[in-house]
Symmetry: C2
Subunit: 138 residues, 2 copies
């Protein structure tokens, strides 16, 4: 469904959002262990999330990462689209570059509803919707 990298990013953000204490930072090392992703690889992912304004980072002692946005204003789409073309509204099932009601592929009429539900899920589900639930991330 998602690329490995996008999955890693989601896991990391969920984990960060859950352990959010006022002003406290979480180290990349600890996150890497918590979400079970190779340290250096996660480091780059976190960096991209930071550049995108989703996280804040700080270096040195007691440094680490923090959410930069309130969880209820952070749709999954915003995370996922950095690494993946998910949520581009209704991708064509057959991979046609342009596929629309006006110029459809044969699968278009059947695929449309499902495709739109997927797009809606990523657009409207926020991190807040997710972190309330129980369950482990790894």
């Amino acid at each position: 469904m998602l690329s490995g990298t996008a999955e890693y990013a989601l896991r990391a953000v969920v984990c960060l959002a859950r352990s959010a204490r006022d002003g406290e930072h979480t180290r990349a090392n600890d996150l890497a262990e918590a979400v079970d992703v190779p340290r250096n690889y996660l480091s780059k992912i976190l960096h991209e999330l930071t550049r995108a304004g989703i996280l804040k980072s700080s270096r040195g002692k007691n440094g680490g990462f923090q959410l930069a946005v309130p969880p209820d204003e952070l749709p999954l789409l915003r995370i996922v689209q950095l690494f993946d073309r998910m949520g581009e509204q209704s991708r064509c099932l057959l991979g046609r570059p342009e596929c629309s009601d006006a110029d459809p592929c044969p699968a278009h009429p059947r695929w449309k509803a499902t495709s739109q539900q997927i797009a809606k899920f990523f657009r409207e589900t926020t991190i807040a919707d997710v972190i309330g639930n129980a369950g482990s991330v790894r």
Copy 2:
């Protein structure tokens, strides 16, 4: 959504099913042109579809490929799952190997409905459902 290879396979089967005349075969060359996929690469895909019992092939003059199953008994899932892990019922959004109601990830409750609709689409939509519609494959 799907891997390139799975898309190619779908396009090829749709095209084959549409041009199906009694007993006639379609050459890999012609298919490759019709669905806009590199000849040699498509060749391998067609071979896999044949091994899976979805197509029949014959060599030599007037040879080529044919559907081996009636279109209304051929769900998209059967094609797609050869090349992709699509339709494995409800894959975990966060990539956990085991993710179920009993042992869920945090995203599980929200993701479930969409995930099931995707699985249902691939399981229940057949090639027959698709080839009736207008629209080009490339």
